[in-house]
């Protein structure tokens, strides 16, 4: 195990490189970058930019999963918070809009955390409730329409740029650093890992496991809220019907690709975000490839399996394949 530590992340980086290389093959201009109106422009930037919502979701999700939980409601929370932000955008200033949206995300997280930590519901069903009802709440806010807005502040959040990078990317980076600082800078990381590793033992060691669980769901809600605001800002409107639809699966996938076990315990924020980037690199590649859309899911399935196999402890990547083949021939 200790021997594995330095190798942590290697599989993910390798996977990313391979997928990038494939993308380069299907789209020769994949690595082209140019500066336009003070912002960088190119497929790589698209990958970062489009990967932002899932990266943000995975930042919260990875903590939830580290406590042995799961949050299916993040897509719905995105929709709710996007809807709130869009409805307030033209009548209120950005601080109010953000406070309202993030506050809503916090409340959603509290609700989930309450069901899991206090009522003791199983995370998957507890959050399924909000997954179903939450989208309804979001649609209730927008009445099923796409609520558009023109507030330049909010639009900037989705489409502006800082130092040539899209604002969403900068926000995601900021959140990664913030989350990292909070989690690793305090004892939170250790206590979360302990809670996920063995909740009973941690409880007996004096860890406030309930508080930990509550906290991670709240954080997950806040991350989802931010992702929702960005998604709304991106299209200058809140699409309660479709915003964040099925993104919970992508977020979970990102976390798992990032090497965090669904059975809780050890987690890595950076690798989870890397997982989100791997997924997006693949998605962008699919879009650039020009294959008919009927193939999208097949490609996705194959890539996901390949990336996971690459990481499997029982399967040391390509070397493993070769060895296996040789053995079966012999």
């Amino acid at each position: 195990m200790t021997a594995l530590l330095p190798r942590r992340g290697l599989a993910q980086i390798l996977a990313l490189i391979v997928i990038l290389a494939v993308d380069r093959v299907v789209s020769p201009q994949f690595f082209d970058l140019r500066l336009q109106d003070g912002r960088l422009f190119g497929s790589l930037i698209d990958v970062l930019n489009r990967g932002t919502p899932v990266a943000l979701l995975s930042l919260g999700m990875v903590l939830v999963i580290a406590t042995r939980g799961i949050d299916l409601s993040v897509g719905a929370v995105m929709a709710i918070c996007g809807a709130i932000a869009a409805s307030l955008a033209d009548s209120h200033g950005l601080p109010v809009v953000l406070a309202a949206a993030l506050g809503a995300g916090l409340v959603c997280g509290l609700w989930n955390g309450f069901l899991v930590a206090v009522l003791g519901m199983q995370p998957i069903v507890a959050t399924l409730i909000l997954m179903v009802a939450g989208r309804g709440i979001a649609q209730l806010i927008t009445e099923g329409r796409i609520v558009t807005f023109s507030s330049p502040d909010l639009v900037w959040l989705g489409n502006g740029s800082v130092l040539g990078l899209p604002v969403p990317v900068v926000i995601a980076l900021g959140m990664l650093i913030l989350t990292g600082a909070v989690v690793r800078g305090s004892a939170l990381g250790l206590l979360i890992e302990a809670t996920g590793g063995n909740a009973r033992a941690s409880e007996l060691a004096g860890v406030g496991t309930r508080a930990m669980i509550l906290a991670v769901y709240v954080w997950c809600g806040v991350c989802a809220a931010l992702a929702g605001v960005i998604a709304a800002a991106d299209i200058m409107g809140a699409d309660a019907n479709n915003a964040g639809l099925w993104l919970e699966l992508d977020a979970i996938l990102a976390v798992v690709i990032g090497g965090t076990s669904l059975f809780g315990g050890r987690f890595s924020l950076v690798l989870a975000v890397l997982g989100a980037l791997i997924i997006q690199t693949m998605n962008t590649g699919i879009l650039l490839s020009g294959y008919p859309p009927e193939f999208n899911l097949l490609v996705k399935a194959v890539v996901v399996l390949a990336v996971l196999l690459l990481q499997s402890p029982k399967f040391s990547g390509f070397a493993g394949i070769a060895a296996r083949l040789r053995r079966t021939k012999a």
Binding site: L188, A194, G206
Partner: protein, 514 residues
């Protein structure tokens, strides 16, 4: 069949077995020979490689080198199932049963009595009852195993292995959580099986038991074979030297004088403390620098008392005081806040966080006590971990190793370290020496004394009465979930404790079950 009952012929032969986990060389060219009809003790310090040898032989771990012969034929089981098929039945060190299944299913998993492809539930239960009756257990075999104490689970595991009618029976520390009576029953059964020509491998840290039951002894040290001897011709001190590779530093017979502590202040006290259906209300005073032992049979309510005292379970009556001030103990956090510590008896489920490193496990309680915003820096953590790894001689000494990969005894030491690191005023130890080798055992008892001299108050549960007698200043005896007797000073001896345990006090026993 004839040759297997010939006591001289080797039944199980292990030659040149090696096994490494990464950089850790757990076994190096170990030989081991088991004859039919003998009871063969496999001994060694914690981490010597006993469990690993057993797991390699039974195919749980793939081996790096070496061969295994069973009845003269080479075997290479690749799974526990295959080993069973070849005739080797094993009870692994950690109770490996399924708490969610019924006792009966646990006993007969994968070999249930069948008719027309359907499990004969009634027949299975009947057989399960009969099987456990041999061990003096009369419990509801249809109830989930998890409802029962570790002891019962352990007996069930043994009963399962014994009933597999194998040629070789391997028992890895089967007696660690059993009390005298049950050990006697187990030994009776082992002798009977040996008489039938079955070869039995027996791992234990209780040397008395080893001398009582075994014919021969094989000793491992640091993954190497030290030697194989006839039990009868191996003096105890010689055995200890073989195991430790040195003399045991100090013999542990002298008990600290109780009167010396009489004047000490009360650290924590509990008045009419109890919980309906859990433990009958009891009074308990714990003084600084004093060891209070809890004695009783399995299921007598010792663990329950410990959990109430620590705050892991909420009392519904009575008053707790710490240093004279009334406190409420609602959760382990409260206990920790008041300077209590608790080493639970089930270290796998309630103690260690297997995936985390030794360092993280050691600092866990201290960190929880300090709170989120006062994180221990990595340097402080390393410092603490190093100190306790050294103090308790935790092996391997790499503090970054996941605790789950340590041997059982070393895991126990890590738990102890976790609480020592919080500098508690009261430490509750539930079976602290379970699975700990002689060397470490002496070490822990020395440590307990030392801690007391520094004013720590200790509440210790142990099924080993000798041990309790050795270090306790007072002994509380429990029966049927009620505190029935308190012995102090000269009154503390094994005979008195046994008398108190056995006395018929049914009148008070059921009070707590209202």
């Amino acid at each position: 069949m004839e040759n297997s009952s010939d006591p001289a012929s080797p039944l199980l032969e292990v030659r040149g077995i090696s096994k490494s986990f990464g950089a850790v060389r757990a076994l190096q060219e170990v030989d081991f020979t088991l004859r039919a009809g003998e009871i063969h003790a496999l001994l060694g310090e914690n981490g010597a490689g006993k469990s690993t040898l057993i797991k390699v032989v039974t195919g749980v771990f793939p081996r790096d080198a070496g061969i295994v012969r069973l009845g003269g034929e080479e075997v290479a089981p690749r799974s526990a199932k295959a080993a069973l098929g070849a005739g080797i039945a094993t009870v692994y060190q950690e109770v490996n049963l399924l708490p969610n299944l019924s006792v009966a299913q646990n006993l007969f998993l994968d070999r249930q009595p069948m008719r027309f492809g359907i499990v004969r539930e009634g027949e299975m239960r009947r057989r399960a009852k009969a099987l456990l009756a041999d061990f003096g257990l009369d419990i509801d075999v249809a109830a989930p195993l998890g409802n029962y104490s570790v002891a019962i689970q352990h007996v069930t595991a043994i009963a399962r292995a014994v009933d597999l009618s194998a040629r070789v029976l391997i028992l890895d520390e089967p007696t660690a959580s059993l009390d005298r009576h049950e050990v006697e029953i187990l030994f009776g059964i082992m002798r009977k099986l040996a008489g039938r020509g079955i070869g039995i491998v027996f791992v234990s840290h209780f040397l008395d038991q080893v001398y009582e039951i075994s014919n021969r002894i094989t000793v491992l040290r640091n993954g190497r074979l030290v030697g194989e001897r006839e039990t009868a011709s191996l003096p105890r001190l010689e055995l200890i030297r073989m195991m430790l590779g040195r003399e045991l530093a100090e013999t542990t017979s002298a008990r600290a004088s109780a009167t010396e502590h009489k004047a000490r202040e009360i650290c924590a006290s509990f008045e009419a403390y109890g919980k309906a259906g859990y433990v009958a209300p009891f009074d308990l005073e714990l003084r600084h620098g004093e060891v209070v032992g809890l004695a009783g049979l399995l299921g007598s309510g010792r663990t329950e008392t410990a959990r109430l005292v620590f705050g892991a379970e909420r009392a519904d009556r009575g008053q707790a005081r710490v240093e004279g001030a009334a406190v409420r103990l609602q959760s382990p956090r409260d206990g920790v806040r008041h300077g209590f510590g608790y080493c639970p008896e089930e270290r796998k489920t309630d103690g260690i966080v297997a995936e985390l490193s030794v360092r993280e496990n050691i600092v866990l309680a201290l960190q929880a006590k300090r709170g989120l915003h006062r994180p221990l820096s990595r340097r402080e953590q390393d410092e603490i971990a190093r100190r306790y790894v050294k103090m308790l001689d935790i092996r391997p000494s790499d503090p970054e190793r996941p605790v789950g990969l340590l041997s059982g005894g070393n895991q126990q030491k890590v738990l102890l370290a976790r609480w020592l690191a919080t500098s508690p005023r009261l430490l509750v130890l539930d079976e602290p020496t379970r699975g700990i080798d002689v060397g470490a055992h002496a070490e822990i008892i020395r440590l307990i004394r030392e801690l007391c001299d520094n004013g720590l108050s200790l509440l210790v549960i142990s099924s080993e009465l000798d041990e309790i007698v050795t270090y306790s200043d007072r002994v509380v005896v429990l029966r049927d979930r009620a505190h029935v007797e308190e012995l102090a000073g000269g009154a503390i001896d094994v005979g008195n404790i046994l008398a108190a345990i056995a006395a018929d006090g049914a009148a008070t026993a059921h009070e707590g079950r209202a």
